[in-house]
Symmetry: C2
Subunit: 360 residues, 2 copies
Amino acid sequence: MKTAGEFAQRRERLREILTREHVDALLVVAPSNVRYLSGFTGSNGALLITNDRELLFTDPRYQTQAPRETECDVKISKKSLAESAIEWAKRLKVNRLAFERNRISYERHQELQKARGTIGLKGLSGLVEELRMVKSVAERETIRAAVLLNSEALELALKQLKPGMTEIDLAAEIEFRMRRLGADGPSFETIVASGDRSALPHAHPTVGEIHPDQLLLIDMGATVAGYASDMTRTLAVGSLNAKSKRIYRAVWESQLAAIDAIKPGVTANAVDQAARRVLRRSGLDKLFIHSTGHGLGLEIHEGPRLGKKVATKLEAGMVITVEPGVYVEGFGGVRIEDTVVVTASGHEVLTPTSKELRTL
Amino acid sequence: MKTAGEFAQRRERLREILTREHVDALLVVAPSNVRYLSGFTGSNGALLITNDRELLFTDPRYQTQAPRETECDVKISKKSLAESAIEWAKRLKVNRLAFERNRISYERHQELQKARGTIGLKGLSGLVEELRMVKSVAERETIRAAVLLNSEALELALKQLKPGMTEIDLAAEIEFRMRRLGADGPSFETIVASGDRSALPHAHPTVGEIHPDQLLLIDMGATVAGYASDMTRTLAVGSLNAKSKRIYRAVWESQLAAIDAIKPGVTANAVDQAARRVLRRSGLDKLFIHSTGHGLGLEIHEGPRLGKKVATKLEAGMVITVEPGVYVEGFGGVRIEDTVVVTASGHEVLTPTSKELRTL
């Protein structure tokens, strides 16, 4: 999917940002940022990017794997990676070293502080995340593959639905299908919530049976080659009462309105408002208790968040979810979610699964 | 599995530690620590424990779920949970507030620092982790259930092994069986590594076929009711050469020696040394590039680590893995891992799966 050239380009773009921020190096500690800039997929890595060097620190477990995955210089360390990195920064005559202030732990920062010598430390947020928000063509195609695989996994799993099946059985079936289709795994714990449990936006599946004549909410994502996908569908198992149908209709219209609002230059909060406005018409906006969506990529939650106060302007190449929901405690909930790319002329919905209310 | 009484007991034991540390409150931010002390399983929570209050802060997504899971006072917050917590700490007249120095991010700490008013902040490591190292009877039984389920999932998955199956296919089969048997999910990404890929201690499964006449390393864990299990078996697919068999034998003896060393009062590094000593006899100790094991519980990696420099004394009730391995780049690797409880009189191996070299 990615070529060594793509990683090198990312590091060059990062170096432009470092110049803008008046630092001559960055210590990267967030695993997804390390992977984005180096290709290294291990769980324990730190990357030191200076004007002309790129050093990947990891522990001995990865001594064979790391050089296969990255063209950065691999340094195997048996102690704290932050300490090893700052020793190298001193050796490379770094003057001003930035660190990821929202990603590094307080403790690791203390280690840097202690060992920094004459190096100036500067805490900065979101430098790599800023780059990651706008996806390359290759990244978008990987996310598209993840989205398509995810939708296919849902169809295969729903074919196995039988009376008496539990939420956990269906979640297991969904994740099995993802894996068999070639996913790395689920992007997050699959949510299968039946009946009034659908009112819990982040319900864990239970051993409870999937109820007939109730709502069934499924929120699922498959990771492919490191990239996440995310989809929610709310289905009818048997016949629904009028209230459930009315809520479904309102959420669907809200979701379509939010998607319609997506194009370059529009702010994230404008998309969020578009979703809320529709729900307000039916008096359901107070029951929509989370933001309208989020970026996704190497992580399931990335920028931009489509939240009430987020002024980030959408740009072509961003990939975001659109997922309004309405939750009625003790009754049930409806959420509908697609993955959408911002394109030069507007947007493209990647998710192919129909949003017509589907009865099983 | 756990009663409300058990959570309350844990908080009381924590309060004793807070007294010892001369603080009158602790802000808990690590999700596993929040869960351990409150029962709350959501992804975004912070817990403020004072002498006489226990407040759980979370966001609106969890407003229905949180009060069902915990008897702590639930405070729904729309801003940074750290900020909300420190405002409450001021209102509750906390004088000296401890925070988790190895768990909190630099950025969250800055928020505390800014909003603390006259409250003194004290960074402490591992207070809750110290409690968590020694498992209650109920916790041990949950881990036992997770271990047994994990072993059963392996047997069911191996029955599906067919020529031409890929590493990913087998990993998918393993995780599906876990879920169908009632696991929350895998405790970590299942490792299935065939042939020379078994030399990568943390290999991701690939689309490569499982090779005949080679080693097959499987490292897998199932989480049950929040608690992890962990097992590695290295199998023979067809017939192995003499070198592979010799390595297998050495690793097995090393693992048995380490298990034999486990009893209350023994230090973690003594168990590690017992494993290394056996490998040294066959000149393989340099190829054993990680520590001998780790505690497990609500997280797959907990204290005590069985590492070269870890002087922690084992106590009855600790649950640890024992997993020496030998890795020969370009050839292959062998690791054998069980989950073991430290008992008053010594130890009990929970993992029922045979360690005789098994030929598929």
